[in-house]
Symmetry: C2
Subunit: 459 residues, 2 copies
C-alpha cells in the first residue's frame, strides 16, 4: 500500500458545488473559487483531503509532497459524447455536407470496416489523444464496446460505454434485442471493473422504435442507468419526426418515458423554447458538441439559454469524423466563446462556469457526481495539472480564465485517473502502452489503404 | 554568402493562386493542391525554386538538404489584425460585456500604462507567441509603433505597423495631425528595414473625423499604403453612424474615398448585403477576427457570404485583451467551422481555401502578395513546417485538411522568415532573444502588480 501523495500546485480550482461558479465578473487577482497555498492529498484511488499545505504536511507526515509550481490543478475533464473508434476515419469526409458525408463516406466505410480490431485500434488512438488532453472520463458510443473497453483499460482511462441500440443490423448485432442483450451481457461481465461504467445508448429517436425506447426507459429505471442519445441535431430530423409521429423528437421521447434526469441529450441544436423547458423541468442534461455541430453545418446550440434555464450542460468532442481534434479544452473554449457570440451576452458561460460544464456538470449527467467531477475529499482522484508558466500565458490575472481562454492541451503536464499518475510531463507514464500506441499508429497506414480502396470502389 | 538550402518535406501546400483552392470535396488521398516528393530551394531571403527533389538536388549540387519527414510545408501565416502590446492585459477583462470591458478595464488601464516600455514588453510577448504559432507577418495597430518594431526586429518577425490615428490624445500623440506626423516620420526612418512595412490606421470611423479620413485617403493613394481600420464591429456602431451621419459607417468611408482595394476592413460583423457588395465591388479586404467577435459578444461575421461574393478575407487574432490566445491556426479552424455552422453550408470555407485566407489572401489585403503569401520562386522565404507524425493526427487522409481541422500550434516545428530559420523544433533559435523573452516574462509580475493597483484604485 503506497503512502499518500500531497499534490502542491500553485492554484487549485476544486469546482465544488458550493463555490458560486456562476459569479461572472471577477476582479483582477485570484478569484474566490481558486485556492492557493493548498494541497490535495491523494490516497490510493481517492482524494483524502484538500487542506492548506502546512496542515496537510502535519496531518500526513509520511506523505511525499509533489510540488507543482506555476501549475493549476483541476478535476479531470469529462468528455460527455464520443465515438472513439472513428479516429481511424479522422478527416475522411472533411468539408462535405451531412448527407454526402454520411452516404458517401461514413456509412459505406463503417459497413466495410467495423469490427473488434477497428474499434480497438481507433479507440486506442482516440483515448490516447483524450487522456493527454486532460480527459479522465469518456462517455463513448460505438459498436463492439468490449474492444473500446480493452483500449480504455490499457490506457488507464475511466470510461462509460453506451449499450448501443440501433434499428439496423451491423457486424456487431442483428436487431434491437440483440444489441441490448450483448450490451447488458457485457455490463454483467464488467461488473467488477472499477473504471468501467455503462449507460443505455439508443442511437437516436429516428433509428429506434417506440417499443424499444419504452423498454430502454424501463431498463434505465430498473438498473439505474443513464440514457445517452442523439437528439435535435438537425432541422430535418425535427421536421421528419413531426411529419411521421406528429411530435417533435423530444416530445416523443418524453411520451415514451425517456426524458428525465437520466437523459443525456446529445447536440440539442434545433430546440424550441418548449423543448428547452421540457429538458429543464425534467432535470435532463445536454451533451454540447459545438465543433461537430459547426463542422457538419448543423447549427449552433443555444447554450447560453440552457444555462439560464438551469439545464446541466456537459461538453463532448463527438467522433473524429466530425471533429478531427478530440480536444475537450478547445471544445470548451469554443463553447464559452460561442455562447457569448451567439446570445449577444459577453457574460454568458464565464470561465469558471465553463470549467464546471466540462467536469462536474458532465459527471452529474452521467449520474457519477458522487464519485467524480470535483476535487472533494472522498471522491476519486481524477486530476489534471496545467502548467501556466509559458510566455504565451503571461501574465496570469486569473488562472481559471487563462485555462479556458488561453491554454491549449499542450499545457497539460500531468493527469491522474483514480489516483494513478497516467500522464507525466505530457507523456504516457507506462512505456509498454506508449509502445503499443506507436504500433497502432503504424497500423493506421493499413487502415488508410483499406479506406482508399473502398472509396475508390476497388474492393 | 551561405549556399542554398533544400527543404524536403513530405508534403508542400504552395497556395499558388493558380491552384484551384476553392475545389471543396477532395477524394481520400493526397489532393491536387499538395505536392509530394518536391523541395523548396531557399537562397538568402528568397525562394529560388520549387522543384521535384531529385531535380532540385541536380540543379543545386552545393545545397544542403534538410529532410522533413512527416512534415507539411506551407507559406508563413499572416496575422491580419493585432494589437500586440495588449498581451500585458491578457485576461484582464474576461467575461465582461463590451461597455464595462472598455470603460472599467481597457481604457483606464491603457491611459495609465501605455508607453514605450509597455509596448515593447507586450509586443515581445505577443510576437513571440505568434512566431512560435507560425505567424511570419503581423499587421499591428497600436501606440508607440517604434517600440513594437523594436520587438519584431529582435524576434526576426516581418511586421506591418499602422500609422495610427485617433481623435483623442494619448501618451503617444496629441491630435490627429500629431499621430499622422509621428507615424509618417517613423516610416521614413524605417525605409531601409526589409522586414518592416507600414499602413495607415485610422482607429475606426467613429473615432476619426471626416476631414482626417479624407486626408488618409489621399495619403493612401500618394504613398501606396493600405488602410487598416475597425468597421461594423457592433450593431451600436452602425446605428450610431446612421443617427449621426445619416449613413452606415462603410457608406461614409466610401463617400470619403476610403473604400477601395487598399482598405482592410477589420471585423465587418454587422454588415448588410449592400455593405458586402460595396466591399466586393471596391476590391476591399476583410480582416476576420472570429474569437474576438465571439468573446466580446459582438456577433458572427458572415464569412461564407464574403467568400461567395469574392471578397478577400484574411484572419486576425485581434489583441490579447479580447482573445487571450494569439493563435492564428486556432483562429483559422474557428473561422472555417463557424463559416459552415453559421451559413448552414458544410462546404463553406473548405480547408485549402482557409489556408489561402491565412496566407495569400491576407498578403493581398496588405498589398504584399508580390512578396509573400505563397510558395513561389522569387517570393520571400516565409515558411512554416508542421509535423503530422503524432498519434493524435493519424491517419492523414489529407494533410491540408489535417492542418486546419486537426493540428494545433504545438505541431509547428520550424518557422522561417525571409530565409532565416527563426524557430527550430518549437524554440527560438536565437539564445539571446530566448533569454530576453524570459526577462520580459519576469517583468510581467511588475505589470500585473501595476494593473492590480490601478483597478483597485490604489494609485
Amino acid at each position: 500500500m503506497p503512502s499518500p501523495v500531497l499534490l502542491a500546485p500553485q492554484w487549485i480550482a476544486p469546482v465544488a458545488p458550493l463555490a458560486d461558479a456562476s459569479a461572472a465578473p471577477r476582479a483582477a487577482g485570484v478569484p474566490h473559487d481558486v485556492l492557493t497555498g493548498h494541497a490535495v492529498v491523494v490516497d490510493g484511488d481517492r482524494i483524502a483531503a484538500l487542506l492548506p499545505l502546512a496542515e496537510a504536511q502535519r496531518r500526513y507526515p509520511q506523505a511525499e509532497t509533489m510540488p507543482l509550481p506555476d501549475h493549476l490543478l483541476v478535476p479531470g475533464f469529462v468528455n460527455l459524447h464520443a465515438h472513439a473508434a472513428m479516429a481511424l476515419l479522422r478527416g475522411v469526409g472533411d468539408d462535405l455536407p451531412l448527407h454526402r458525408w454520411l452516404h458517401q463516406r461514413i456509412w459505406p466505410l463503417e459497413s466495410r470496416l467495423v469490427g473488434a480490431q477497428f474499434v480497438r485500434d481507433g479507440s486506442m488512438l482516440a483515448f490516447h489523444e483524450m487522456l493527454l488532453g486532460g480527459v479522465t472520463c469518456v462517455n463513448d458510443m460505438y459498436f463492439f464496446p468490449e474492444a473500446a473497453i480493452e483500449a480504455a483499460q490499457r490506457l488507464g482511462l475511466r470510461s462509460v460505454h453506451g449499450i448501443i441500440v440501433i434499428d439496423f443490423p451491423s457486424a456487431y448485432a442483428s436487431d434491437a434485442g440483440d444489441y441490448l442483450r450483448k450490451g447488458l451481457d457485457l455490463r454483467d461481465r464488467m461488473r467488477d471493473e472499477p473504471l468501467v461504467d455503462f449507460c443505455l445508448a439508443p442511437h437516436a429517436p429516428y433509428t429506434v422504435t417506440d417499443e424499444v425506447l419504452r423498454r430502454i426507459a424501463t431498463l434505465s429505471r430498473e438498473l439505474g442507468l443513464s440514457i445517452h442519445t442523439h437528439v435535435h441535431e438537425t432541422r430535418e430530423e425535427v421536421e421528419a419526426s413531426v411529419a411521421r409521429h406528429g411530435m417533435r423528437p423530444l416530445e416523443r421521447l418524453s411520451a415514451l418515458g425517456v426524458v428525465g434526469p437520466e437523459l443525456i441529450a446529445v447536440h440539442a441544436v434545433h430546440v424550441s423554447d418548449s423543448d428547452l423547458r421540457l429538458l429543464a423541468d425534467s432535470g435532463a442534461s445536454v451533451a454540447h458538441c459545438p465543433h461537430s455541430n459547426l463542422k457538419l453545418a448543423s447549427g449552433i446550440a443555444p447554450a447560453a439559454r440552457m444555462h439560464e434555464l438551469g439545464i446541466g450542460v456537459g461538453i463532448g468532442t463527438d467522433g473524429s469524423a466530425s471533429n478531427n481534434r478530440l480536444d475537450l479544452l478547445a471544445e470548451a473554449r469554443t463553447a464559452a466563446l460561442l455562447a457569448k457570440g451567439h446570445s449577444g451576452n459577453a457574460e454568458a458561460w464565464p470561465a469558471a462556469r465553463t470549467l464546471r460544464a466540462m467536469t462536474l456538470d458532465a459527471a452529474r449527467a452521467l449520474g457519477m457526481d458522487d464519485r467524480i467531477g470535483s476535487i472533494e475529499p472522498g471522491k476519486q482522484a481524477d486530476l489534471v495539472a496545467i502548467d501556466l508558466s509559458g510566455a504565451e500565458l503571461a501574465p496570469v490575472y486569473d488562472p481559471v480564465s487563462q485555462l479556458i481562454y488561453g491554454c491549449g492541451r499542450e499545457h497539460i503536464q500531468h493527469v491522474w485517473v483514480a489516483g494513478t499518475h497516467v500522464v507525466r510531463k505530457r507523456q504516457l507514464r507506462n512505456d509498454t502502452v506508449r509502445f503499443e500506441i506507436a504500433e497502432v499508429v503504424g497500423r493506421t497506414a493499413l487502415w488508410h489503404n483499406r479506406v482508399g480502396e473502398i472509396l475508390s470502389g476497388q474492393v
